[in-house]
């Protein structure tokens, strides 16, 4: 009797696992398609009908890192010039007939993205944790309304706020500075952070701090030594979401950054060369840009799940 039940359970178990694996594979198809496209050569991308197998080429990756011009028909390189080309120059020449002029904009943009995302995440966490603690522990008049107000800032369609915000930063001469986007992203993320962290901090029994304060600790010390260590999971979870938002943000980056501080999302979608839209290079850039966000999520995955649990349900 027990045997049959066990077998049934096993079958059921394998069945569920099977479904999950299939689901995951299907879910990954668009992502695989992107990676697949990034290794296609220029003319393979527009092949009708599309193919799975093709001769792979990493020219797209070279293109995304460089700025190039096309060899005009009167200016084709001679055979000895071709022999002297470095391997990547030759690849680009053979695939699209272009000459590499200089290093492209991607590394600079990538760095900008990293700086802005990290800085705004850290700032959000600091401000958010402190405010969440304040909301959690202190009596504040109209607390619920204030909390709702904080949440409502997230409900704004960015387009509504963009022009006034732009004009504001213009007067401060800050329309192409990293600080602009850092402040902006922090302002947008802090609402989510306060909400999640408050719920988390609510879970931590207040007795510990009261005991500590009786023993002579200041409020701030109690916060630092007791609350913070217990809140790390929530902080980690919030950090992931804030980082992802800042890393991927497009609308504000478009308007509020130009040469110095432009981030990758504002730059990547439009890879126009004289030869047309460079789908393969865009795919390559997409894949490269995905990696840090992916790594960050993987590292903090366990915290993510645990952090959210306490983040929104009170006891």
């Amino acid at each position: 009797m027990g045997e049959i039940v066990k077998k049934k359970r096993n079958i059921r178990r394998y069945f569920v696992i099977f479904i999950i694996v299939i689901l995951t594979v299907v879910y990954m198809v668009p992502l695989l398609y992107i990676v697949n496209t990034s290794f296609k050569s220029w003319s393979d991308v527009q092949q009708v009908p599309p193919t799975f197998t093709f001769k792979p080429s990493i020219a797209a990756y070279i293109r995304i890192f460089t700025a190039r011009v096309v060899y005009s028909s009167g200016n084709q390189p001679t055979q000895e010039e071709i022999d002297q080309m470095k391997w990547y120059e030759r690849l680009v020449y053979e695939e699209t007939g272009e000459k590499i002029v200089r290093m492209g904009d991607l590394p600079r943009r990538y760095l900008n993205s990293v700086v802005i995302a990290v800085a705004s995440t850290v700032l959000t966490i600091i401000l958010g944790t402190i405010a969440a603690y304040g909301f959690s522990r202190f009596k504040i008049r109209g607390k619920d309304d204030l909390l709702f107000f904080i949440l409502s800032t997230r409900m704004l369609p960015p387009v509504v706020v963009i022009i006034p915000v732009f004009l504001m930063f213009r007067t401060l001469n800050m329309t192409d500075s990293h600080l602009t986007l850092i402040l902006l992203y922090t302002a947008f993320n802090v609402s989510f952070a306060v909400w999640v962290l408050k719920g988390f901090i609510d879970e931590i029994p207040i007795e510990y701090e009261e005991a500590a304060m009786v023993d002579g600790y200041t409020r701030f010390q109690a916060f630092r030594k007791i609350v913070l260590p217990q809140a790390t999971t929530g902080i980690a979870a919030t950090a992931v979401f804030c980082f992802i938002f800042a890393w991927n943000e497009y609308a504000f980056a478009l308007v509020l950054s130009r040469r110095v501080s432009q981030t990758v999302p504002a730059w990547l979608p439009y890879q126009m060369g004289v030869l047309g839209y460079d789908w393969a290079a865009a795919a390559a850039g997409t894949f490269l840009f995905l990696i840090p966000a992916m790594i960050f999520t993987i590292i903090l995955r366990n915290h993510l799940v645990r952090g959210i649990t306490f983040g929104a349900i009170r006891k």
């Binding site: 995951t24 009708v48 405010a131 369609p157 006034p164 995905l290």
Partner: protein, 305 residues
């Protein structure tokens, strides 16, 4: 010597209460200030603008001075015959997209919750990936994916030549599919969190009483996961109303794109520079979003009790 501990405690208490209010301010104020500067001030400015006929591009050289025109912008918006269509399309999008995300996300989470196996963590991480991508880039890639001539979407599903990006019958679904693909992981994550929080002993107790699967689900699982699902619902609904990046990537913002409010808002505000008209429209959208989410939040607060 005996008086000292009591005195010390009294001193501590006084010290603490004096420090508390200042500390309170220090703790909460920075956030409030930042939000006011970055959000409230521009909001207020937009509000004032929405009652005028200001266009960011026009100057007095035209002999046209911006002036306050009261609620004319609002009445114009509400009486525009095409506006109703846009509201409906946006509502359709929100319902479809958020609905599918919730069902799929929760469903996958339920499945994952049933079993433990080697590589489960790996698969879960893979499933989370779409959420970590930039929406506009996802849009561009899906645009290639959808291309009826050389994209693979139609080919893989054997759908022939359906045009998901510009055919008015399908373009909304095209955007919905991409959006659902992107954000189901978010709902899934929150659902997993909720499901993990349900104490195991409750299930075991029900098992002893030989409760049915449905009983376990509706009396134990749902009530505990419900608040988190609501949180997911609130955030996704808010974002779905404002959706812009993904649609921009997949369909652009012409008349062959789905007629969503946010695309129209961009066109009005940044292509034809009717700034105050755009502000008014933005406010109407804001009020709508606030109204709907407050309903959800009320449910959430009730559920938390």
């Amino acid at each position: 010597m005996n008086n000292n501990p009591r005195k010390k405690r009294a001193e501590n208490m006084a010290y603490r209460s004096m420090k508390d209010t200042t500390l309170l301010r220090i703790f909460v104020l920075p956030v409030i200030i930042l939000l006011i500067v970055m959000n409230v001030f521009p909001l207020f400015w937009s509000l004032v603008l929405s009652f005028s006929d200001y266009s960011a591009k026009k100057t007095t050289n035209w002999g046209v001075n911006p002036e306050m025109i009261g609620t004319e912008n609002y009445s114009q918006i509400l009486s525009d015959p095409k506006m109703w269509n846009r509201f409906i399309t946006t509502a359709k999008f929100v319902l479809l997209s958020v609905g599918l995300q919730m069902i799929l996300g929760f469903g996958i989470a339920l499945l994952l919750h049933q079993v433990k196996f080697f590589g489960k963590g790996f698969l879960t991480t893979l499933l989370i990936l779409p959420m970590t991508m930039s929406p506009v880039i996802v849009g561009i890639m899906w645009k290639l994916f959808y291309n009826p001539n050389y994209g693979m979407f139609n080919m893989l599903l054997g759908l022939g030549k359906i045009d998901w990006t510009t055919d008015p019958n399908f373009n909304l679904f095209g955007v919905v599919i991409a959006d659902v693909w992107m954000w189901t992981p978010f709902v899934m994550l929150l659902s997993i969190a909720g499901l993990s929080a349900v104490p195991q002993y409750l299930y075991e107790a029900a098992e002893i009483d030989r409760a049915s699967w449905w009983y376990k689900f509706s009396r134990i699982t749902m009530p505990m996961v419900y608040p988190l699902l609501l949180v997911a619902l609130i955030f996704r609904t808010m974002e779905a109303f404002k959706i812009f990046d993904v649609v921009m990537g997949i369909t652009g913002r012409g008349t062959t794109a789905p007629q969503l409010l946010s695309m129209y808002l961009y066109n009005v505000g940044f292509v034809t520079w009717q700034t105050s008209y755009g502000s008014a429209l933005g406010y109407i959208m804001l009020i709508m979003i606030i109204a709907i989410t407050s309903i959800f939040i009320k449910y959430l607060n009730r559920a938390k009790q």
